[in-house]
C-alpha cells in the first residue's frame, strides 16, 4: 500500500527535547524532511494526515521478540509477528535466534532478511552467541553481523560457561554489536516454574530464586568491565538485578538493560490462579521487584522496554502449569500497559516513555530511528492515550493467544503505525 | 407459624392418654413375647420411643431395649435438596435379629420416612417383624404403609402443616395444625 504520506499534522512527543505539542512533520522519500512547530499552513489531501490530539511518536522499536520462523510457523511467522507488531505500534523489531534451527549461521540470517522483505515493518535478526545455542562454541559473528545481525544472544538460555561468555564479549568487540544476555544460571533455576517466594511455597511448586538471575547479571557486568565489551541485560525482573545495573552504570561500565511490560505490571500472587499464561521466564516476581523495575525505568537504570513476545500454541499452553512451556505474547498489549501502568501513574512522562520504547533501543542496536531528526526514517507510532479498551485475544493479529492480560481493561492504544512514510496499520 | 392460624388438636393430657393407650395396645398385640424392642426415628420419634419404652417397662416390669435411628442417609430425596439436614448418630445398642421391633415416629404422612427407616433397620439385621406406632396419622400416603398403632387420626390437605411439640424439644407437649397454607410437615 504505497500511500506516501508527505505531511502529518498533530501532537508530537520528541524524546530528545522533551517537547510535547503541535507540529507538522514533512516527509520525503520515506524520511523526515522537516519538523515545523509553527506551521504556516496545514494542507489537506490524500497525502496529508491530520491527527488532532493523537500523540505522534518516533516509531517504537521492540528489541526482544520471538518470531517462530523457521520451525514453529503454527505459533507465529515473520509475517504474522510483523502484523502483530504493526498493530501494537512497533515499526521495527529485533527477532531472537531460538528458532528451529536457531539463527546461528549466515544462511539463517539471510533467511530472516529475505522473509522480512515483504513484512509491513522492519525486522532485524539477532544471531545466537553459540552454535546451536549449546553454549560451547562461538558463531561466526563477524560474517553474521556483516549480513545484518544487529546483536547476538543465546536468549531462551543463559550462557552457563563463564569462559565462553568472556570470549564472546571480547570477540563481539570486532563487530561492534551488543551481546544480549538472558541471565539465568540453570543449576540454581533447576526445575523451577515460577518465582521462588512464599507464593511458590504455598502452591508447592518449584521456584526460580532471584539469585539465579542476579548471579549472572553480576557476572555479565564484571566480564563487561574486564573485557571492555558491551553487554545488554535482557528482561530484568528482580530488585537485586536493577540495583546491580544501577551501580554498574555509576561505575561507567558498558552495560544496558531492558524490562518487559509484564515485569512492570504483574506480581507472583497472580500465579495462584494456575493460569499458564502467567508461566514466563524470567518469572513474574514479587511486589518489591515490580516496584524496583518501575523505579529503574524511571531513573534510566533500565534503558528500554521490550516485550519478549513469546508465542505458544493454545494446545501447548493447555497443560498443567508444571508441563506448559514458558512465555507470553506482548506486542499488542505493550502500549496499553505503558499508558495504564506507567503514564497514568506518573512514573514516566511521555518523552521518557518514548525514549524507552524508541530512542534507547535504536541506540543500543545501532539501527535507524528513535527521533524526529532530519533524515531519520519516517517511522511513526500514533497513539490515542485516552482510548479505553478491553484486551480480547481473539482480536490479536498474532497467531498465538497466550497473553496474561485477557479481559483486562486498558487505557491507551496504537491507532496508526507508519513505516517509511506508509501507513501499515490503522484503526482510524 | 402464627398463633392465629394454629389449631391445637392435642394437648399435654391427650398426648399422655394416647401414648398410654398405644403402650397397652402394643402389649396386647404382642402378649407373651420377650423379644420386644423399640426404635425411634429422629428427632421427635426418638423422644416418643423413650417414653413408650419406659412405660412398657413399667407395665411388664422388665427393661425394653431401645434404639434411635437417623434416616437421613436413606432418604430418597437427598439428591434434590441443596440444603441438607445434619446427619446425626444412629444408635442401636442391641441385636435386632429375631426381635419384634416397634418403630416409633411422631407424624405419619407420605410414608417415605418410614420406608427409609425400614431400609435402615434391615441393614442392621433381620427382625422377626416390624410394627409401626405413630402419635399422629395425617393421611395422604404416597406409599403402601399403615400404622399399627396411632394416637390420633386427622384429615389434612397438603397445604397444611402438622407439628408435634414435645417437652424434651420445645418445652411443651402439644400437637398443632397450621391450616394457613404454608405447607410442609
Amino acid at each position: 500500500m504505497k500511500n506516501d504520506i508527505t505531511q502529518i499534522n498533530g501532537k508530537i512527543v520528541d524524546p530528545l527535547t522533551g517537547y510535547v505539542g503541535k507540529a507538522t512533520i514533512h516527509i520525503s522519500g520515506g524520511k523526515i524532511k522537516k519538523v515545523d512547530k509553527r506551521p504556516k499552513s496545514i494542507s489537506s489531501g490524500k497525502k496529508s494526515l491530520n491527527l488532532d490530539d493523537l500523540l505522534i511518536c518516533p516509531g517504537f522499536i521492540d528489541m526482544h521478540v520471538h518470531l517462530r520462523e523457521p520451525g514453529r510457523e503454527d505459533e507465529e511467522t515473520i509475517m504474522s509477528g510483523s502484523e502483530a507488531a504493526a498493530a501494537g505500534g512497533f515499526t521495527s523489531i529485533a527477532c531472537m535466534p531460538n528458532t528451529e534451527p536457531p539463527l546461528d549461521t549466515v544462511g539463517s540470517i539471510e533467511y530472516v532478511n529475505d522473509r522480512s522483505m515483504v513484512a509491513p515493518i522492519k525486522v532485524y535478526p539477532v544471531g545466537s552467541i553459540t552454535v546451536g545455542q549449546k553454549g560451547e562454541r562461538l558463531v561466526e559473528m563477524q560474517e553474521m553481523a556483516a549480513c545484518g545481525a544487529v546483536a547476538f544472544s543465546d536468549d531462551g538460555y543463559g550462557v552457563q560457561n563463564n569462559d565462553i561468555m568472556r570470549r564472546a564479549l571480547e570477540y563481539a568487540k570486532s563487530c561492534d554489536v551488543p551481546l544480549i544476555s538472558h541471565c539465568e544460571y540453570s543449576d540454581l533455576a533447576a526445575e523451577g516454574v515460577m518465582n521462588e517466594s512464599f507464593i511458590s511455597s504455598q502452591l508447592g511448586m518449584k521456584g526460580i530464586p532471584t539469585v539465579a538471575e542476579e548471579l549472572m547479571v553480576a557476572r555479565e557486568i564484571m566480564l563487561a568491565e574486564y573485557t571492555k565489551g558491551r553487554v545488554h541485560i535482557a528482561h530484568v525482573s528482580t530488585a537485586g538485578a536493577v540495583e546491580l545495573v544501577r551501580r554498574a552504570k555509576r561505575a561507567k561500565i558498558n552495560v544496558t538493560a531492558e524490562a518487559t511490560p509484564h515485569h512492570f505490571t504483574l506480581t507472583d500472587d497472580e500465579v495462584k490462579s494456575f493460569n499458564t499464561n502467567l508461566k514466563i521466564n524470567p518469572p513474574i516476581r514479587g511486589k518489591k521487584d515490580v516496584e524496583a523495575v518501575r523505579k529503574g525505568l524511571k531513573d534510566g537504570t533500565i534503558d528500554a522496554i521490550a516485550t519478549d513476545h513469546a508465542p505458544h500454541s493454545v494446545e501447548e499452553k493447555e497443560f498443567e502449569f508444571d508441563y506448559a512451556p514458558f512465555g507470553a505474547i506482548g506486542l499488542e498489549t505493550a502500549v496499553g500497559l505503558l499508558v495504564t501502568e506507567l503514564i497514568e501513574n506518573k512514573i514516566l512522562d511521555w518523552p521518557t516513555a518514548v525514549n524507552r520504547l524508541s530512542t534507547a533501543p535504536a541506540v543500543i542496536l545501532g539501527i535507524p530511528g528513535g527521533s524526529f531528526e532530519i533524515g531519520a526514517p519516517a517511522d511513526f507510532t500514533i497513539i490515542d492515550p485516552y482510548l479505553e479498551w478491553e484486551v480480547n485475544p481473539d482480536d490479536f493479529k498474532s497467531l498465538s493467544r497466550n497473553t496474561p492480560f485477557a479481559g483486562r481493561k486498558l487505557t491507551g492504544k496504537t491507532v496508526m503505525t507508519i513505516v517509511d512514510g506508509n501507513v501499515v496499520y490503522s484503526m482510524l | 407459624m402464627t398463633k392465629n392460624t394454629a389449631e391445637k388438636i392435642m394437648d399435654s393430657k391427650s398426648i399422655k392418654l394416647a401414648l398410654n393407650r398405644i403402650c397397652h395396645e402394643i402389649v396386647e398385640r404382642n402378649v407373651g413375647t420377650s423379644d420386644l424392642a423399640i426404635i425411634g426415628i429422629r428427632t421427635g420419634g426418638a423422644y416418643l420411643a423413650e417414653r413408650i419404652a419406659a412405660t412398657l417397662g413399667k407395665i411388664g416390669k422388665t427393661k425394653i431395649p431401645m434404639g434411635i435411628i437417623d434416616i437421613t442417609l436413606y432418604r430418597d430425596d437427598i439428591q434434590d435438596k441443596l440444603d441438607q439436614p445434619l446427619v446425626q448418630e444412629t444408635s442401636i445398642p442391641f441385636d435386632i435379629g429375631n426381635k419384634i421391633i416397634v418403630l416409633v415416629d411422631d407424624v405419619l404422612y407420605t410414608g417415605r420416612t418410614v420406608r427409609a427407616a425400614l431400609d435402615a433397620i434391615i441393614d442392621f439385621g433381620r427382625p422377626r417383624s416390624i410394627q409401626l406406632a405413630v402419635l399422629v396419622d395425617r393421611g395422604l400416603r404416597e406409599l403402601p404403609i399403615k400404622a399399627d398403632f396411632a394416637g390420633r387420626e386427622v384429615t389434612t390437605t397438603q397445604k397444611e402443616r402438622v407439628e408435634v411439640h414435645l417437652k424434651e424439644m420445645n418445652g411443651v407437649d402439644e400437637v398443632v395444625i397450621d391450616r394457613s397454607g404454608r405447607g410442609g410437615v
Partner: protein, 312 residues
C-alpha cells in the same frame, strides 16, 4: 446445612463452618462403618471416577471403599496403560470420561493446580486427592478428625509437623486446616527441606527437634524419601534419622496425653521407630479408619451440593 464449597480443591480458604460440617458428618459415617452391613444407599446412582495419575494404594483404596459404602458406582483410571501415557491431555481425558455421564472426579496428579484446571474446564464435582506438593485436603481433614476425636477440640491444640515440609502436600493441607480451626502449628525439619518464607504461613519454624517438641500435644511425622539425599538436599539418611527421627526418648518434652500421627507409608527406623509407631499413643491405624469415614462424609456433602435431580 450444606457446604459452601462446590469442589474440594484444597483446605486453603475453606472456612471453619465447612470444615466442622464435614468432621461432624464423618462421626455418623464412622458409626455406619461399624455395622455388620457397613453400607448405606445414599449415593445410589452416583458415578465417581478415581483418576489417579500418580501411583497410590492407600488413598485410592480409601476413596474406593468410601464410594462403595455409599452405594455409588466407582470407576478407576490409573495413568499407566491409559491414553495419558499416549499423550492425551488431562482435559481430553476428563471430557471423554464425562461423555459417559459421570458425577464426580477424584483426582491425584503430580502437577499442582491439576484439580483447579479440571474444576474450570469440566462439569463434574472435583475432589483433590493430592496435586504434587500443593495440597492433600482429605488427608488434612482426616488428620483433624483424628485429633478432634481424641481431644474433643482443635482450638488451642499444639501440633508439630516434622519432616520434609518442602515436598509435602500433607503438611500444607494440615497447616491450612488447623490454622483455620484455631490450632497452633509448628514445623520442624532440616533447613533445606523447609519452604522459603515458611513463617508467612503463620507457623513457627524449628530446625531443632527437641526444641520443636517442647510442650506439643500432637506430632505429625512425614515420610522422608530417599530421593532427597540424591538431589543434594540432605547429606545422608543416617544424619536425618539421628537428628529428626522420632524415637521413644525424643518424646520426653511433649505434653501429657500426647499423640503420634503419620500419614503413611512409614519408613520404620528412619523417621519413626517401630516402638513409637506401635505404641498406644500412636493413632496411625485409626487415621486410616477415619479416612474412609471422612471421605464418605465429604462425598455425601459434595454430592448433594451438585443438586442432581432424582430420576424418580
Amino acid at each position: 446445612m450444606s457446604l459452601k464449597i462446590r469442589h474440594l480443591l484444597g483446605l486453603e480458604g475453606v472456612d471453619a463452618d465447612d470444615i466442622s460440617l464435614i468432621l461432624d458428618t464423618a462421626i455418623s459415617f464412622k458409626e455406619v462403618l461399624s455395622r455388620s452391613i457397613p453400607k448405606v444407599p445414599t449415593l445410589r446412582g452416583v458415578t465417581i471416577v478415581n483418576l489417579f495419575y500418580e501411583p497410590s494404594t492407600r488413598t485410592r483404596i480409601s476413596f474406593e471403599l468410601a464410594e462403595k459404602r455409599l452405594s455409588a458406582d466407582t470407576v478407576n483410571f490409573s495413568a499407566s496403560g491409559s491414553s495419558a501415557s499416549k499423550g492425551e491431555s488431562l482435559k481430553d481425558t476428563v471430557w471423554n470420561i464425562e461423555a459417559m455421564k459421570i458425577d464426580m472426579v477424584v483426582i491425584r496428579h503430580s502437577a499442582p493446580g491439576s484439580p483447579h484446571y479440571l474444576a474450570e474446564t469440566c462439569e463434574s464435582t472435583i475432589i483433590n486427592a493430592g496435586d504434587g506438593a500443593h495440597e492433600h485436603p482429605t488427608q488434612g481433614l482426616l488428620d483433624m478428625f483424628t485429633m478432634r476425636e481424641k481431644y474433643g477440640r482443635l482450638e488451642g491444640l499444639k501440633v508439630v509437623i516434622v519432616g520434609d515440609i518442602k515436598h509435602s502436600r500433607v503438611a500444607r493441607s494440615n497447616i491450612w486446616g488447623l490454622l483455620t480451626m484455631g490450632a497452633e502449628v509448628s514445623v520442624c525439619g532440616p533447613p533445606t527441606l523447609i519452604p522459603v518464607e515458611m513463617e508467612k504461613f503463620g507457623v513457627k519454624v524449628y530446625d531443632d527437634l527437641d526444641e520443636a517438641l517442647m510442650g506439643a500435644d500432637v506430632v505429625n511425622i512425614l515420610r522422608i524419601q530417599k530421593e532427597r539425599q540424591k538431589s543434594g538436599l540432605l547429606p545422608s539418611m543416617r544424619e536425618y534419622s539421628r537428628y529428626y527421627g522420632i524415637t521413644k526418648d525424643r518424646l520426653k518434652n511433649l505434653n501429657d496425653n500426647f499423640t503420634i500421627m503419620h500419614p503413611g507409608p512409614m519408613n520404620r527406623g528412619v523417621e519413626i521407630s517401630s516402638e513409637v509407631a506401635e505404641a498406644p499413643y500412636s493413632v496411625i491405624l485409626p487415621q486410616v479408619t477415619n479416612g474412609v469415614a471422612v471421605r464418605m462424609a465429604l462425598l455425601y456433602l459434595l454430592s448433594a451440593r451438585r443438586g442432581r435431580v432424582n430420576e424418580e
